[in-house]
Amino acid sequence: METKNIMIVGVGGQGSLLASKLLGRLLLTKGYDIKVSEVHGMSQRGGSVVTYVRYGDKVYSPVIDKGEADFIVSFELLEAARWLEFLKPGGKIVTNIQQINPMPVITGAAQYPQDLVQKMKDAGADVEAFDALSVAEQAGSPKAVNIALMGRLSKFFDFTEEEWLQAIRDSVPPKHIALNEKAFQLGRK
């Protein structure tokens, strides 16, 4: 099969590495070739971060380029807009509607753009926007926002719910399994 491309974008510290770990586990059990490219180091300090997940029969490049992403999963609204150019025509954006002000907005040097969901739709993107933070809080912890997003993403894949849940159980510490399973299921609704 042709290589599929998923980008996970957000703000450093939001937990995108767990989301990519979960996807990697799941895809490995399905027998795909996989590459996952991560950001470590300086950019993690509250900066814009991106993780690339690619899978298929044979995957070469570890990164996703402009116009190539089948999915962009975003932890934060502005970040979804920032990476929009990487979306393939007909690709889908799954985004949290949470807004986190970047430093230029905090200092007053820039404004946080308004109506981003509508603007992305106007640009032709298929946007699935929801309050993943509330879903995570409902599940028991705001930190589960990453798994809530994976729950919503899972609706657009053919893998069974149990396959996703098993990947969660394989990726998180035992004491956090119940919380994350709940966040996943609430996100998937």
Binding site: G12, G13, G24, R25, L28, D33, I34, K35, V36, S37, E38, V39, H40, G41, M42, S43, Q44, R45, G46, G47, S48, V59, Y60, S61, P62, V63, D65, K66, G67, E68, A69, L78, E79, A81, R82, L84, E85, F86, L87, K88, P89, I100, N101, P102, M103, P104, V105, I106, T107, G108, A109, A110, Q111, Y112, P113, L116, K119, M120, A123, P142
Partner: protein, 581 residues
């Protein structure tokens, strides 16, 4: 054996373990750090953080000399620090195998320059292997030990950000521990005094010739025949992946797994087999210049940049194909640069430096973020340790003039790495420098590694702890002060006093990194909107947990750790702790 998805750096560590590596000594540096962290998780491997890369490499050499396979890892600029032992270990050779990871950072995701480490292999005359994914990272780590022992040389294993920090599928094998090679006294081999070194240099040159022969036939320099002879591409590392992504099996590819020395005949044969020869390599024209030196017609940097990392679209664009395009929003998206975390102990200190309008010679670490607005308090960032030695020169150039306006800032780990020697120079050659050591009890930027000031070692066990105050006094600094960077008033008073003093001084700004697990956070602060006069004084510290909403300051309670620095800036008592109504 089992298939597993591994980060490139974890795959190197697995390769070290499988190859029977016994001793690892490294200094952390993105994107190399995880090799050593991962190696430390194997109980059969002794692994440590050394104070700097030179110490690490010499430690690894000692272990190899004693007959055990050894390793040291570092980022590209770390090899500058360790270049001294490298160039001479090349002459002595090793006893058991010795492998060195050097990780380049094209695109400077987390670095101060974009140097190309392949030049070191050529100048130090040591072989360099260059994996292109995790499976090769594992396999090449093992192969590097075989080469090291077969050719009696240290071997460089060159990673780059996209190989080091990408996960891909690897197959695992068991560990095979070679017999310890007995150490024998060989003065002519190991004492590099001129008479012996003169005898060793020809050995090194002969070794390179033998390695070229090896490179000619080795499968890691792989000729992948394409559908026709129109285009032939010479490439390596992550560039190989971009080329394959674009061309699949249509173009011929010479994939170089060994970046140095290069297989002359294989390259000549490859060039002769294609109509057009192109080198696709990130950073410098290293392969290209070599191929040109053979008198062959080749393209490379006439098409591809020497700057930044590559991608598949870049390869498409430069080789005349159509790259896919996406659609961006018409309006500008505000940038999101990295920032000091909420509760970062550096923030208060840098606010004071900014307020006092001091010239600040900076160093390498999270505190480089003190340069970012609104703090904007840093003047220079060069390399590990350059703050203190630079300040010494700065004050010597101002000799006689009452300067009193310049300080150096350096983190605890960076001070151990190469700040200490600069401080010795300050004391010995008597400058009136004020050095501020930002002691946050961890190596922060690279993701929380222990160091000689933290009291713990790489494995997390209690370890000897450097007494910074005693050390500074011992080298001859008489004025040593300690401040809490959460206390702005104290910081300001002490910095004013020490910069005014007519002799050298050290201020230790001490508070652990707010992200350390053992650091207890206070409940978030809140804003009394009645009292907030919208003066924005609190915004001068650039805290990501503070923002303005409906014309008043507000606190992001998910980020605030209750450090209380903002409260000290509010003249109206609007910022309140959880205990205040």
């Amino acid at each position: 054996m089992a298939k597993k998805l591994l980060l490139g750096n974890d795959a190197v560590a697995r390769g070290l373990w499988e190859a029977g590596c016994s001793v690892v000594s490294s200094y952390p540096g993105t994107p190399s750090t995880e090799v050593t962290e991962s190696a430390a998780k194997y109980p059969e491997i002794y692994a440590e953080w050394a104070p700097n890369e030179k110490v690490a490499m010499e430690t690894a050499f000692g272990a190899a000399l004693a007959g055990r396979r050894s390793f040291c890892g570092m980022k590209h600029v770390g090899l500058n620090v360790a270049a001294d032992p490298l160039f001479t270990i090349s002459y002595t050779g090793v006893n058991a195998g010795m492998v060195i990871v050097v990780a380049d950072d094209a695109g400077m995701h987390s670095s101060q320059n974009e140097q190309d480490s392949r030049h070191y292999a050529e100048s130090a005359k040591v072989p360099m292997l260059e994996p292109s994914d995790s499976a090769e990272a594992l396999a090449f780590a093992k192969l590097a030990y075989e080469l090291s022992e077969q050719f009696d040389t240290p071997v460089l294993l060159k990673m780059c950000t996209r190989v080091a920090h990408s996960q891909s599928v690897v197959e695992l094998s068991d560990r095979v521990l070679p017999e310890q090679v007995p150490y024998e006294k060989k003065p002519q081999k190991y004492i590099m005094a001129p008479a012996n070194a003169k005898r060793r240099h020809p050995v090194v040159e002969e070794r390179t010739q033998k390695l070229i022969q090896w490179a000619e036939t080795s499968e890691i320099n792989r000729w992948e025949k394409g559908a026709d002879r129109k285009l032939g591409i010479v490439t390596s590392s992550t560039s190989y992946q971009y080329v394959k992504e674009v061309f699949g099996d249509t173009a011929s590819v010479l994939k170089l797994g060994m970046a140095w020395p290069l297989p002359e005949q294989k390259i000549r044969d490859f060039a002769a087999s294609v109509d057009r020869l192109v080198v696709v390599e990130e950073l410098d024209p290293f392969f290209e210049n070599y191929i040109k030196s053979l008198g062959l017609k080749v393209e490379g940097k006439n098409l591809f940049p020497m700057i930044d990392e590559f991608s598949q679209n870049l390869v498409r664009e430069k080789l005349g194909m159509t790259a896919p395009a996406g659609k961006a929003l018409a309006e500008a998206i505000p940038g999101r640069p990295p920032v000091m975390c909420a509760g970062c102990p550096h923030r208060g200190l840098f606010f004071v430096l900014s307020k006092l309008k001091l010239t600040v010679l900076g160093d390498i670490g999270c505190y480089t973020l003190g340069a970012v607005p609104p703090l904007g308090a840093v003047d220079t960032t060069i390399c590990m340790g350059a703050s203190i030695s630079g300040l010494h020169g700065f004050s010597k150039a101002n000799a006689g003039a009452a300067d009193h306006k310049t300080v150096a800032v350096i983190g605890d780990s960076t001070f151990m790495h190469s700040g200490m020697t600069g401080l010795v120079n300050v004391a010995y050659n008597d400058s009136r420098a004020t050095v501020i050591i930002l002691d946050n009890s961890i190596t922060g930027m690279t993701g929380h590694q222990q160091n000689p000031t933290t009291g713990f070692n790489l494995k997390g066990d209690p370890a000897s702890k450097v007494d910074l105050e005693a050390l500074c006094k011992a080298v001859g600094i008489r004025r040593v002060r300690v401040v809490d960077p959460y206390d702005l008033k104290q910081c300001e008073e002490v910095i004013k006093e020490e910069t005014a003093a007519d002799e050298a001084s050290v201020i230790i700004s001490r508070r652990p990194c707010a992200l350390l697990k053992y650091v207890k956070h206070n409940p978030p602060f809140h804003v009394d909107a009645q009292k907030c006069k919208s003066c924005r004084a609190c915004m001068k510290i650039g805290c990501p947990a503070l923002f303005f909403q409906d014309g008043k300051a507000a606190v992001d309670t998910t980020l605030c750790v209750g450090c209380g620095v903002c409260k000290q800036l509010c003249h109206f008592g609007a910022l309140k702790s959880s205990e205040e109504a």
